[in-house]
């Protein structure tokens, strides 16, 4: 049983086709890396999994994306509920202009939870999960903007974990971070794998190699190769993949 299945997915911005016939099946509790040069469609593809592209006017998707066997683009699907199940971490840390505590509690509150004790417990466990607790436990009431960039990004991950998704999408989560913060986030991804299915878009080949189990290489809106990360990095079947991975273009 696959966690995520993508069947014949085409995606259009207006009349231009951004994704062509993408077929991928992702197993639960794995990390999948989406790689490829800028503009290849990997971020667009990632944002299909929580229907984030719905926000852009004049877009169209055909084909099917199944999560837990259910077509998330079927009629009558509640998008809010889908997004609760599929968490997302963005390129740049984007905490809300609220306190550290309220940032993590936000997802719970908007999903109708008001039990104070429950929220407090959930916030604490979520922050502990991202190994940020020791650093922020004394300043939960302070603005999230007071944290460093790396801390902010871990807070954003905690924020996504708080509503207990089963899938986490990460859109170049370390591109705005320094090397030390990056390695902390990477460690975190590795640990989170046991509980979540993670899909990560990255520009960084080493990162893809380090954190992912499977890798999908995109080029000009097409899925060129999809395989075990190990295979992709050591014995790519297609030359273009090899050229990209070895840095000959991109």
């Amino acid at each position: 049983m696959f966690k995520i299945e993508s069947k014949n997915v085409d995606f259009f911005y207006g009349s231009s086709q951004a994704l062509k016939n993408i077929n991928i099946a992702i197993k639960p509790n794995t990390v999948t890396a989406l790689i490829g040069p800028s503009g290849c469609g990997k971020s667009t593809y990632l944002r299909l999994f929580n229907r984030m592209n719905d926000l852009i006017d004049n877009t169209k998707i055909t084909g099917q994306i199944l999560i837990d066997g259910e077509d998330i683009y079927a009629k009558g699907v509640n998008v809010d509920s889908l997004r609760k199940k599929v968490g997302m971490v963005f390129q740049k840390p984007n905490p809300f202009p609220k306190t550290i505590f309220e940032n993590v509690a936000y997802g719970l509150r908007v999903n109708g939870i008001s039990d104070k004790k429950f929220i407090e417990e959930r916030v604490e466990t979520s922050i502990k999960q991202v190994a940020l607790w020791e650093e922020v436990k004394d300043k939960l009431k302070k603005s999230a903007f007071e944290l460093s960039g790396g801390q902010q990004q871990r807070l954003c991950i905690a924020r996504a974990l708080a509503i207990q998704p089963s899938v986490i999408l990460m859109d170049e989560p370390t591109s705005a971070l320094d090397p030390i913060s990056t390695s902390k986030v990477e460690e975190l991804i590795y640990e989170l794998k046991s509980k979540y299915t993670i899909v990560i878009v990255t520009h960084n080949m080493q990162q893809a190699g380090r954190v992912s189990d499977t890798t999908a290489f995109f080029y000009m809106g097409e899925l060129i190769e999809y395989d075990n990360t190990k295979n992709i990095f050591t014995h790519p079947k297609i030359e273009r993949t090899q050229n990209y991975i070895t840095g000959r273009f991109g």
Binding site: L55, G87, M88, F90, N94, F96, K98, Y106, V110
Partner: protein, 402 residues
């Protein structure tokens, strides 16, 4: 030679540009100078008309009266000297035209040459008299006592409850009713405009699609472009009668009419500025909220509005500022009664409307004229304060959002 010419031209143009750049600054300085020069002049004047004196009997212990007291005496609200601290005796009012009640035409003389003596005798013979007459009719051996009249005081000007600058013998220059009237009408306007304006800015920035937005935006601009006198006219022929019949009032020209019209006029300011602020909410912030399963509406009121709150505040404050300074529309629909308002269904008068209505009749350089300039100063200071507040809010905001 050519390069010299070119260099000279460059310098010349730069000088010209700089000169133009300083015009606004110069204008503000000049406005402040002229406004305050005339406005402050009012505090060097006595509230009694120039060339006139007020006199009492020599034995009367009172030396000094305030303009309010003088007015109350002549309005016969004070009829006994006791109230003013003198021995009990009813007050006898005397104006110049009353002289024929006491003296014959022969005594006064054909060219009023006997008038000074008559007045002198009269003030001497009647211990409870108070007389108001032109200075030129003071006899050389005047037997009465001229009252000292205090100059207009700033504190009285600001806290006085009556505005009646043409009152005789003493002008009443209390701006309280005008200030309250202005604030009253503006507050009403903002209470009406804020919900509408906020709704429109949320709708335009977050809900409506690009097509609708592109239609609405110029319409809001058009709303801002309609001249205030047209708003006033519309208010006069539609809103005023409507209020009159709805609330069964003697007159429809009320604070409410002013508030409605000003509210409409403040809308474009509020909408433009708060819509701008909301559109500046980073996309990433909105996406983060939606990605956590928040609905669009939850995202709007939990993320977008808090994020843009200072812009919204700035819009509201500028809207108030616009309402406070508005002249013609208010002048045409509020009824302009210079009394402290007790309800929105009474006529009120604002500072700008007072200036517009009265300046034409105030003699150049006189007390009334200068008092109106002093009103202008108050208005200037209020709007300056508003502008600086807005500046402060948006600057602090820039600093915070890094």
């Amino acid at each position: 030679m050519k390069t010299f010419y070119k260099k000279f031209l460059e310098k010349f143009i730069e000088g010209l540009l700089m000169l133009s750049g300083t015009v606004t600054t110069l204008t503000v300085v000049l406005i402040v100078f002229f406004l305050f020069k005339e406005g402050i002049g009012v505090f060097n004047k006595k509230p009694v008309e120039e060339g006139y004196v007020i006199a009492v009997n020599n034995k009367n212990p009172i030396n000094k009266l305030s303009s309010e007291q003088i007015k109350n005496i002549y309005d016969q609200k004070i009829t006994n000297w006791k109230i003013l601290g003198a021995p009990t005796d009813s007050i006898i009012l005397f104006r110049l035209e009353d002289v024929s009640n006491y003296y014959s035409d022969a005594e006064i003389g054909e060219n009023f040459e006997g008038l000074p003596i008559c007045i002198s005798l009269l003030t001497d013979s009647l211990p409870n008299i108070i007389a108001f007459f032109p200075e030129k009719y003071i006899d050389k051996n005047f037997k009465g006592k001229q009252l000292e009249i205090d100059k207009v005081k700033l504190s009285e000007f600001l806290t006085g409850k009556e505005w009646f600058p043409t009152a005789q013998p003493a002008a009443q220059l209390g701006v309280m009713p005008l200030i309250l009237g202005t604030l009253w009408v503006s507050l009403g306007a903002i209470l009406l405009a804020l919900p509408l304006g906020l709704a429109a800015s949320v709708y335009m920035s977050e809900i409506a699609n690009e097509k609708i937005r592109r239609i609405m935006k110029p319409l809001i601009e058009l709303l801002a472009g309609i001249p205030s006198v047209v708003y006033g006219f519309f208010g006069l022929v539609i809103i005023v009668p409507l209020i009159q019949t709805t609330f069964d009032l003697p007159v429809g020209e009320t604070g409410l009419a002013g508030s409605i019209i000003l509210g409409i006029m403040a809308l474009p300011t509020i909408i433009t500025i708060s819509e701008d602020a909301m559109r500046n909410t980073p996309r990433a912030m909105k996406e983060a909220s939606l990605a956590l399963g928040a609905s669009k509406w939850q995202t709007i009121y939990k993320v977008v509005i808090p994020y843009s709150i200072s812009g919204i505040t700035a819009g509201a404050i500028l809207g108030i500022g616009r309402a406070i300074g508005e002249t013609m529309a208010v002048l045409m629909v509020t009824g302009n009664a210079a009394v402290i308002p007790h309800s929105i269904l009474e006529p009120v008068r604002t500072i700008p409307a007072t200036i517009a209505a009265e300046l034409g009749e105030a003699p150049n350089g006189g007390l009334h004229f200068q008092a109106l300039f002093a009103l202008g100063c108050i208005l200037f200071l209020i709007t300056l304060f508003i502008n600086l507040t807005v500046e402060f809010i948006s600057n602090r905001n820039k600093y915070n959002k890094h």
